[in-house]
C-alpha cells in the first residue's frame, strides 16, 4: 500500500527505475486525460444505476418470498443461481452473445413485437446498460440477506400495526422498512464497494478495450490498461488511490447520513 502511494507520485515503466514526478500524475488525470474523465463517468453511472436497481429488486423478491409460501427453498435456489455463476467469464461471454446482433434477445423482440432492435452491446448508447442489466440480474445474495433480515422482524409488530388500522402499504413503510434499515444499509455498502471494482464483465463484454467508443471504459478497466498495457505504473497507482479515496468518501457519506435513516433496535450503537 505504502509503495503504491509512493509510486503514484512517480513515472515508472517497470524497466527503468521510478522517476519522481510529484503531483504530475494527479494533475494530468483531471486536466489532460479525457479518457480518465470518461472512465470516471462510466463507473459512477454504473454504480448509481446498478446498485439501487439491484437492491430494489432484491428487496421486492425477498418480500414476496417472505409471505410464508411453500417451496421457498427451491425459489431461493433458482434466484441465487445467476449470482453464483455471474462472476465467471462464461456468463459474460453468454451475455455478449445474447444481446449482440442476432442474439436471442433481439430475435425475441423482433419475433414478438416486430421491433428491429439495435445491437445492445456494440452500440455506445446501450452497451453500458447491458452490463448494468447483467449486474442487476445477480441480485441473489442481497436477496438472501434481505430474507434473513425479514425473518428477524417480530410478527407482533405487524399485528399491532394491523390493530391500529395500518394497511398493507403503511405496514411496509412504517414497520418493514425501518426494521430492515440496518440490513439495507449493510447491503448498500457491500454492493457499492463491489460495484466500484467491477472488472470481469466489462473486460469480456467490451473485448478488453472499454469500447464501443469508450462507453464501457470502467475505471478498473482503464487502470488495467494504463498499468499493464501501457506500463504506466505510476499513473495507474495514482488512479488506484483516487478510487480508494472516492470509495472512502462515498462510504463515509452513507455512514454519516445513516443515523437519520438506519434504525437500530437497541437505539443505536
Amino acid at each position: 500500500m505504502i509503495s503504491s502511494l509512493y509510486l503514484s507520485f512517480t513515472q515508472y515503466d517497470l524497466v527503468s527505475s521510478p522517476k519522481w514526478a510529484g503531483l504530475a500524475n494527479y494533475i494530468k488525470m483531471f486536466t489532460n486525460d479525457p479518457r480518465y474523465i470518461q472512465s470516471l463517468k462510466v463507473t459512477l453511472t454504473y454504480v448509481f444505476v446498478s446498485v439501487p436497481l439491484k437492491l430494489i429488486f432484491a428487496l421486492f423478491v425477498a418480500i414476496l418470498m417472505n409471505q410464508g409460501i411453500r417451496a421457498l427453498g427451491i425459489y431461493r435456489t433458482v434466484y441465487y443461481i445467476p449470482t453464483l455463476l455471474g462472476g465467471s467469464v462464461a456468463i459474460a461471454v453468454m451475455w455478449r452473445k445474447m444481446f449482440g446482433t442476432g442474439g436471442a434477445f433481439n430475435q425475441f423482440l423482433y419475433n414478438v413485437f416486430g421491433y428491429q432492435a439495435p445491437d445492445w452491446v456494440a452500440n455506445p448508447k446501450y452497451a453500458l446498460y447491458s452490463i448494468i442489466l447483467l449486474t442487476v440480474w445477480q441480485f441473489g445474495s442481497s436477496m438472501i440477506i434481505f430474507l434473513a433480515g425479514l425473518k428477524q422482524i417480530p410478527q407482533e409488530y405487524y399485528e399491532a400495526a394491523q390493530v391500529d388500522g395500518a394497511g398493507r402499504m403503511r405496514r411496509f413503510f412504517n414497520v418493514t422498512l425501518p426494521m430492515l434499515s440496518p440490513v439495507i444499509f449493510f447491503n448498500l455498502i457491500i454492493q457499492l464497494i463491489n460495484a466500484f471494482q467491477a472488472f470481469t464483465q466489462a473486460f469480456i463484454i467490451s473485448g478488453g478495450k472499454g469500447g464501443p467508443l469508450d462507453s464501457t471504459l470502467f475505471y478498473t478497466l482503464y487502470l488495467y490498461q494504463k498499468g499493464f498495457t501501457f506500463f504506466e505504473m505510476g499513473y495507474a497507482s495514482a488512479m488506484a488511490w483516487i478510487l480508494v479515496i472516492l470509495i472512502a468518501i462515498i462510504t463515509a457519506v452513507f455512514f454519516g447520513t445513516s443515523k437519520y435513516w438506519v434504525h437500530y433496535a437497541d437505539g443505536g450503537k
Partner: protein, 280 residues
C-alpha cells in the same frame, strides 16, 4: 398475514415462478445453444434444439492453440485447490489467534485487518505485481496462492473469528484443565466445532478462485499455464462464427464445478451468506 386467501397465494407463486424462469432463461439458452449445430445457434430461438449435436463439446474439448480444454481445467483445479488449502490453514490459525488468544495490539491489528476488507483490490495489484515480478513469479501460480498462506483473505478470517467467538469458552477451559496447550485446543476443540465455517471458507475460496479473472490475466502469460477463464477468453478472441458453438459448450463445462459444489453444499451457502453477507 397468516390468513392470506388462496387466490393471492397462487398469484404470488405464479409471479415468482414466472420471474424465476426469466432469470434462468439466459442460462438455459446457453445450455441449449451448446447442443445446437453452429448454424442454428442464432437462427433457432427455441430452447429445445431442433437438431442435437455434441460436436461443440468434442471440438471445444480439443481446445485451442494446441491446448486441450482439459488442460485449462486441470490448471484451474490445481490453483483452486492450492488456494482453498492455503486459506483454510492460514485463516483458521489467524482466526483462532484473534478469537481466543491474547496478545498485544490485538485490537489494533484486528482493526487493520478489517480495513483491508474495505480496500479495493486494485490499490494493491500494482505494487504486488512489481514485487512478484522481482521474485520471478510471473507466469506461475505462486502469486495467486502463496499470499493465501499468509492469511491475506481478511474476509474469511473475519468469518471464522465470528464463528469461533460463538463457541463456548468453557470447552477451552476444561481442555486446559485436562492439560491441553493452545495448539491442542485448536486442533481438538476449535477445528472440529468450526467445521461449518471451514466449509463456507472452502466453498467460497474455490468459487472465487475458479471465477477469478483479473489476477490470472495479469500473472499468467503462456497458454500452457492458462486457467479456465483465460482459456475461454482465448476462444472469444479467436471468434469466427464457427467458434461460437465450442465456446458456448466450454462455457457450460466451466460452470459445472460451481454448480456441483452449490447443489451438494447448499446448506452452507445460505448460512454463509445470511450470517456474513458474503457477496456472490
Amino acid at each position: 398475514m397468516n390468513a392470506m386467501p388462496k387466490l393471492q397465494r397462487g398469484i404470488i407463486h405464479l409471479f415468482i415462478i414466472g420471474m424465476g424462469l426469466i432469470m434462468l432463461y439466459p442460462i438455459l439458452w446457453l445450455i441449449s445453444s451448446s447442443f445446437k449445430p453452429s448454424y442454428l445457434i442464432f437462427t433457432d430461438l427455441s430452447l429445445w434444439p431442433k437438431e442435437v449435436t455434441v460436436d461443440n463439446y468434442v471440438n471445444g474439448w480439443a481446445g485451442i492453440a494446441n491446448m486441450s480444454f482439459g488442460k485449462f481445467i486441470g490448471n484451474s483445479l490445481f490453483l483452486a485447490f492450492m488456494c482453498v488449502l492455503g486459506n483454510i490453514v492460514a485463516c483458521s490459525l489467524a482466526a483462532f489467534a484473534f478469537g481466543r488468544l491474547d496478545f498485544s495490539f490485538k485490537k489494533i491489528l484486528f482493526a487493520l485487518m478489517m480495513m483491508t476488507i474495505m480496500l479495493p483490490y486494485h490499490v494493491t495489484i500494482i505494487p504486488q505485481y512489481i514485487l512478484f515480478r522481482n521474485f520471478g513469479w510471473i507466469d506461475t501460480y505462486a502469486p495467486m496462492f502463496i499470499p493465501k498462506l499468509l492469511a491475506t483473505d481478511a474476509f474469511f478470517i473475519f468469518l471464522m473469528v465470528q464463528f469461533i467467538r460463538g463457541l463456548p469458552r468453557d470447552l477451552d477451559e476444561s481442555a486446559t484443565i485436562d492439560g491441553c496447550g493452545p495448539f491442542q485446543i485448536f486442533f481438538r476443540i476449535i477445528m472440529p466445532l468450526a467445521f461449518p465455517a471451514l466449509i463456507t471458507t472452502a466453498i467460497f475460496t474455490f468459487i472465487w478462485t475458479w471465477d477469478d479473472f483479473l489476477s490470472q490475466l495479469l500473472y499468467l502469460n503462456s497458454p500452457a499455464q492458462y486457467t479456465v477463464p483465460l482459456g475461454l477468453r482465448l476462444f472469444l478472441d479467436s471468434s469466427g462464427e464457427s467458434n461460437w458453438g465450442p465456446m458456448l459448450a466450454m462455457s457450460v463445462v466451466s460452470l459445472v464445478p460451481s454448480l456441483i459444489i452449490f447443489f451438494s453444499l447448499q446448506r452452507y451457502f445460505v448460512e454463509g451468506i445470511s450470517t456474513t453477507g458474503i457477496k456472490g
